[in-house]
Assembly symmetry: C2
Homo-oligomer: 334 residues x 2
């Protein structure tokens, strides 16, 4: 699934910063892909980029009108429709991460056909995929895994890929979710793939490459999360990672949106190794990315120290500390 | 997904017994659902039931024309089309487990609409499902798991459900694959579900029930099979089984259709317990169903004895020995 830059990021009437988190992730991680923002009356979010109408953006070379905010309930707001139509009329593709498909809105389908533009539904996957084969392939792969959902796997993967490139290694961030796909401009939303093809999708996403090339694959879910573990395992075995980084948070008592207690990081590391061995016998954990946003500075230092001692691994908060110690460990081990 | 009996089983021009294995499974496991068979010139398979045309079967009360054979390459054969149309004209639903959808054949869609009949694509799932919640629910659940695909999980589950009913327990076989759905008349093909909803599908399939009721869930894939493990794990955590039976075969060196070596049964048992605990902390293994079809009688006895000693579990070949020792263990432990 390819999304062409530059983007005009549509924030609609986002009532706070969190509602526009996709838009913020884009200016944080791929500012070069963002031409400007388009907001409606009452929008509180502001990405700090130029305000452009669809017509202005198209005149300046924009390719895609990206919905960078969530809509309440995941449905497409009627009040947005006119702007989406204007974007298509101006010759832009429209990309959406909403559950409701753009392709299910007859007005948009007709308009896109008329203008020769694409409606890109990032949460849906209709392309042909094969089942996973488990065949070893050249190139190196690093996967971020987590003790829970929404714990920093995308952020860690982006930081690790950027860090590898900064050290002169060939490295690609491989996106497996909607925001990641917008950042990379390509990827597969693996949770939208028919379950028979999850590991096949992961194989297609991180194909054979030069022996020194790194694919840094964005992880999804958790092996012990009752909602999403199937996605997590298919992604793990399909990616056949040489190494993985565990993403963790110490203040949560339960996993996200369920009553299941947070798992022990040691259990997730061990299960990842034992299940990952099915496709890469030398898989190893090279570090822990700890989300310390809920801790004081002193608590964060203590938490990192405790995990580092217990697991004999570098432990960092990528947002605070960068990823240098993990990259050192990764490159020393492989 | 419901399929109404009685069935007229369509064997087309099946060139051998294996090609008609779905048809044979139906007469083996649900003879009461099978009204007759419908064959084309050159068909070698014979289910030993009455030969009926679609019109004759409909006149005798048949409800569904079931494609009980595979077609080379999974595509719908042009030569079959006329018979499928006759079935619809006679007022029968048509059910298919082929990859190619009946719903993608315009002639069949038009005919089905005209006659008010259904085209049932068992390998596809379009219904609404939620994500898994992991919430404990009343009722008891037994899942069959495997060291590999195509190793006897459906057969074992059917035998265990039948055995429980024979002992006076309320028990339902819960079908997760196409043949199982035809046998039970209902079920969800979990590998056809979007991966985000695999565990949610398993929860919907084995819902809350009376405390003494058993759902015996048909397993899929293997936790260490690089093609299908995501399906396996979603099904495991969604089913939240109290107990599981491991299905195994001792003569295979590699898992089906891949180069990955067969896993150690002990590893699969341990991983099943550790991953299953996320939704049922008291999950336990109650036996091993060994497929001994590739062994001599003496070898089979020795293989069962070796596994029983090593794992301290009852080991039987359900086809040869029945499932009594496993049911004894199950009912004694729960």
């Amino acid at each position: 699934m390819d999304v062409h830059a530059p983007y005009l990021v549509f924030l609609a009437n986002a009532h706070d910063r969190l509602a526009a988190k996709t838009g913020y992730a884009l200016v944080d991680w791929c500012p070069e892909r963002v031409l400007g923002q388009c907001r409606m009356d009452g929008c509180v979010a502001d990405l700090g980029v130029r305000e452009l109408s669809p017509e202005q953006a198209a005149a300046e070379g924009a390719r895609t009108f990206v919905i960078g905010t969530v809509s309440p309930g995941g449905a497409l707001q009627g009040s947005w429709l006119r702007l989406l139509e204007r974007a298509l009329d101006a010759g832009l593709d429209v990309a959406s991460g909403m559950h409701r498909r753009l392709a299910d809105v007859p007005e948009l389908v007709a308009r896109a056909e008329l203008r020769g533009c694409r409606l890109i539904d990032l949460r849906h996957h209709d392309g042909a995929l094969g089942v996973g084969t488990g065949k070893p392939r050249a190139g190196k792969r690093l996967l971020t895994v987590g003790t829970d959902c929404s714990i920093g796997k995308k952020y860690a993967a982006l930081a690790l890929a950027a860090g590898l490139r900064k050290r002169g290694h060939a490295a690609d961030f491989r996106a497996t979710g909607q925001t990641g796909i917008l950042i990379a401009g390509t990827g597969i939303a693996v949770d939208a793939v028919v379950s028979d093809f999850v590991s096949g999708a992961a194989e297609a996403l991180s194909p054979e490459a030069d022996p020194g090339h790194w694919d840094v694959v964005e992880g999804q879910g958790s092996l012990l999360h009752p909602s999403f573990a199937g996605v997590t395992l298919g992604l793990l075995q399909g990616s056949q990672p040489d190494a993985f980084v565990l993403c963790h948070e110490t203040t949560r008592t339960h996993m996200r949106n369920v009553d299941t207690p947070m798992p022990d990081p040691a259990e997730v590391i061990e299960l990842t190794i034992r299940l990952g061995r099915a496709t890469n016998p030398s898989i190893q954990c090279v570090g822990i990315a700890l989300n310390t946003s809920g801790l004081s500075e002193a608590q964060a230092v203590a938490a990192k120290q405790a995990l580092a001692t217990r697991h004999a691994l570098p432990v960092i908060d990528p947002l605070v500390d960068g990823v240098t110690p993990i990259l050192d460990r990764l490159l020393a081990s492989l």
